[in-house]
Amino acid sequence: MALHEALIALQTGCSGLLTLKQDDPYFKKRLPTIPYVHQGELEILDRLTQLGQHYRTLDEYIQNIFKDKKSGLYILSFAFELRSILQTYLNCLKQLEHECLIDTSLTLSHLLISLTDYNLLFPSLVSLINKLQTNGYRGCQILDIIRRYTLDGNIILSSTMKKLLCSCHKIFIKQITSILTRGQIYDEYDEFFIGLNNNINIEAMGMTTPSISRMTSTITSRSHSPDRDKQFNLQMPQQNPTITPGYSQYQLIPDMLPSYIPLQLADKILFIGESWLILKTNDEDNDKNFLSINSIDYDEQNHRVQQQLYALTLSDDFNIFELERIIEYTRIDLSLTLRNLFVDRFHLCNELEQIRGFYLIEHGELFSLFVNRTNQLLLNIKKSTNAIENDINEIFKQCLNDLHLETILTNVDKFKFKLNFSHNDNSTQETSTGCRRLLSRVQGISDNSNNSFDFWSCGWANLSIQYNVKYPMKAFFSENSKQRYNDIFHLLIILRYVQNELNNLWLILKNQHKNSLILHLRNAMSFFINNFQYYIQIDVLEYKYQQLIRSILSSTDFQKIKYLHEVFLSDIQQHSFMLLATAYQSIRNILSICVSFCLTAKQQENNNNFDENILRQFGRDFNDEIRLLFGILGMVQKHNALPHLGVFLTRLDFNRFLTNNNGSFGEF
């Protein structure tokens, strides 16, 4: 009698004697005493009932999964495996029932003993599915959860969990195989840790580093950008209504990445996927398939990879090392192909040379001429129009022609000057005390000299270059790197402008033949600007650039080349102090003080006597900022954080004038 009840209970979780309240599985309602059942047996019955209840929960879960069309492959595969576990359980019950029929003297304890394994197993399975359900885990996420359950001392428990995990890994490996061999994402339910990147403006391939704060607008980015994100979301789909998966359109989805897959490995997979896209996508103008440039038989190779990966799924233990090996192998192959493609076929170094020519102002004479010719135009612009941008680009082309540089900077059509005036100028200035100080200072001066002028809102401070990068270089130059190039350009062009202004002032002053304060201030400023320029252009840019080119030419690994390029960019940003907010602010302040000084001095050119008080005020402001900057950089230098910083400081303080004068450039 009790046995029968028990067997029913084991399957359904309830029986005539033992009922559990349907809607509350934990609330047991059982007759307190049953005359013909011993109190001890009742306890056993309770436990068996509990087991049955677990079974029911699991079964219902599986049924639900099967009914739900949107649960995804991972969960489905998990459910199938779970069902087979339940099936063994049912088989076991069948066996017990059979035994009971043969031998009626069997006790409840026998049942309990026979089902010990499940007694252990079911509670953790139930807790597992509860966890999965309550948190809504899906896709690759469940791998992590299941894996955590496999880490158990109990062999039965862990081996069962491993089986479950293994079934999920089959899907996982299939998806990896798909991306590894064809570069396609086989992922109907968005479960994989690599997905399509619908927002082209976000990081492109291989970028896992957090985007480094935009130096041009450290403040803007600090004041944070939910608005900007919104803008992106609103704008991008409009600009690009149909997104065809193109190069560099995959992205890592960190939420989906199982913790036991190293980020590096995920990166490699992502890289492989994108490489396939590059190789397979044909240029609009160029209908060749790049696969043909290497004589490697990809079909055969893919077949081998497929087999190796398949072999992985056969073992219960997921062999991550083997996976890594296979992926690395594939990656190296593709990377070499891409390297050959980019470096040899598409002349990556030439492209970089062009970039150096434009963004890094390699041809000083060109930009000097450009600055000279657009000097007033850009100074007086407050907002951007197409006509003005066209003018600027025309002037630039003219400069290029005049200097016979067309044969060297051949890609002039790809690079367009743009004026991007930030709209929230006022708010930016409010957030920065430095700026506000400066603003009030400039206004203070303007009271005296009719010169209300904020340098950071004029054309010079908002000039940027739009680099229309063509396929397949897009895969190399991400939006982010373009932004960083622009940040550098921003600094360089302003430096050149300020230098030009200071030199013009020299020309104005040269015929006065007087040893005057204004000359000394001009010299101090010029000294700083020249040395800063030399430091950035030669000590940092040229040095790092040569390094980059050397390592590109010696490397056979495209992914490494990409990585080196990213390192190059962040290196130069770091060394030009863009990432040191206070130092950079100080440099910006120095630059705008110099500009204000030059403009004021120019205005005074005719009446010949620069008000000494204003002059001394400029000098003091300049000195204050220099002292601040020198102090900050001195501190940084102490920590040896920037190896090249010493170069700059040595130059500035070569005759120990700064040291001997308490960090100032003279008495003003």
Partner: protein, 458 residues
């Protein structure tokens, strides 16, 4: 073509060094003596248009004006292989051909007379460029034409082109022995006044030092004029190399000059070049690292001006230094060298403002093979230059005390009535020397103001 530079060659010396300079430029840019671009030089990122322009038949013509009062030197040039290089319209020899007789006043007077004709040429040449950045004048300050007519042209140039730069390469006469021109000190002082007041930058080429360097460095007992001129042309071409082989920086004359010359009057630059070789001797300098080059540039024996490190209780110092390093150079080498020079205190700098060794990296001409990996040119503003002026003034004072040889000057309009121009020029040079000496002290910042204050009081 933007930032062109027009070269004016004046007198015997000016034309000789000018000739040598153009020979060097042609070689560096792969231009044949006829002005044709050599077949191997058709590609290249060098800027030829700063110093040359192209004629209708594409051949290159120097932006040079050759002026002399006597035909000998220019005739020599016109018989050389380079005779077709120059624009014949730019070659001007005074019609009477009598020269200036080593007389400054004669040269100045002739300059005044020939003003229209000379400036027709200069104006035409200036209009020929898009935006001429400046003029370079080659001359000697000792003779008659280069010094006298040069002085006149300097004054006029400054009036006419106030916003253009005027740089001169001025050869200073030997001061340590008996001069071949007796009125040399007069000519020098009178020219120095114009160089002080009307030029923006003067590269001083001291014949004494040139001879010494040619003797010591090139192992020549008696250096020929051609060898001395070659030294000068090396300096001239080296100092313009960043304009002709542009890189990131220092691509125009103004940026070179403005960083060297903090106050307008202190614009007399000394120069040095290393390693030096002549055509037929192997240089003994075997190893050229950036540090070696930069160190050698600071050694007085390599400097093309003989200056005293100390005089009249003044310790002289550098106002500014610009090193133009040519060749394949790793930027970090430059830095290491700077550090070393700073540690060893190889250069003393002014105490009144920030100063350092500015470095400009420049490419080498691909068409000239040198044994050296790196070569370097130094342009420096050194207060010790005043000792050179001092020596000239000493000689001058001895002569003027006796009013020796002034008759030749009195014959010309400027000195007809009195010798005021002499005293005035001497005063200007004295002020210049005083300013240089003041620049060695911390109070230099107030130098001009103090003086202005004093003169107002008196």
């Amino acid at each position: 073509m933007p930032s062109e530079i027009i070269t004016l060659q004046l007198g015997q010396c000016g034309n000789q060094i000018g000739m040598e300079f153009w020979r060097q430029l042609c070689a560096e840019h792969g231009i044949s003596p006829e002005g044709k671009l050599e077949s191997f030089a058709t590609e290249g990122s060098d800027r030829k248009d700063v110093f040359f322009y192209q004629a209708d038949d594409q051949h290159y013509i120097p932006r040079a004006v050759l002026l002399d009062l006597e035909p000998r030197v220019i005739d020599g040039i016109m018989k050389s292989p380079y005779k077709h290089l120059y624009n014949p319209e730019n070659v001007y020899i005074s019609k009477d051909g009598g020269g200036a007789g080593n007389n400054w006043a004669q040269g100045f007077y002739q300059g005044e007379k020939l003003y229209e004709e000379i400036f027709d040429i200069i104006d035409r040449e200036a209009d020929n460029g898009d935006s001429v950045e400046g003029f370079v004048l080659c001359h000697s300050i000792a003779g008659g034409t280069g010094s006298g007519m040069g002085s006149n042209i300097l004054e006029k140039l400054n009036d006419r082109f106030p916003k253009k730069l005027i740089q001169t390469y001025s050869v200073f006469p030997m001061t340590n022995e008996v001069a071949d021109v007796v009125v040399q000190p007069y000519n020098s002082v009178l020219t120095l006044k114009r160089l002080t007041e009307n030029a923006d930058c003067t590269v001083v080429l001291d014949n004494t030092a040139l001879n010494r360097i040619a003797t010591e460095r090139l192992k020549k007992t008696t250096p020929t004029l051609a060898e001395l001129n070659q030294l000068v042309s090396t300096i001239m071409s080296g100092s313009t190399s960043t304009l002709r082989y542009p890189g990131y920086m220092n691509n125009d004359l103004i940026s070179l000059i403005s960083s060297l010359i903090p106050t307008p009057r202190l614009h007399f630059l000394i120069s040095a070049y290393t390693p030096l070789t002549s055509d037929n001797t192997e240089s003994e300098v075997r190893k050229t690292t950036v540090l070696d080059v930069m160190r050698r540039l600071l050694q007085p024996k390599n400097v093309m001006v003989t200056t005293a490190a100390r005089d009249r209780n003044v310790t002289h110092c550098y106002v500014s230094i610009l090193n133009i390093i040519q060749g394949e150079v790793d930027p970090s080498e430059v830095h290491k060298s700077l550090m070393r020079i700073r540690e060893r205190k190889l250069a003393d700098f002014i105490p009144w403002g920030p100063a350092s060794i500015q470095v400009a990296l420049s490419k080498k001409s691909p068409y000239i093979t040198t044994q050296h990996r790196v070569s370097g040119l130094m342009l420096a503003n050194h207060t010790g230059i005043s000792s050179l002026f001092d020596r000239i003034c000493d000689h001058y004072d001895k002569l003027i005390k006796r009013e020796a040889f002034v008759e030749n000057f009195r014959r010309l309009p400027m000195f007809k009535d009195n010798l005021d121009e002499f005293y005035d020029s001497r005063e200007v040079v004295q002020q210049l020397m005083d300013e240089y000496r003041a620049a060695t002290t911390k109070d230099y910042v107030n130098f001009g103001n103090l003086q202005a204050g004093q003169t107002e009081q008196t």
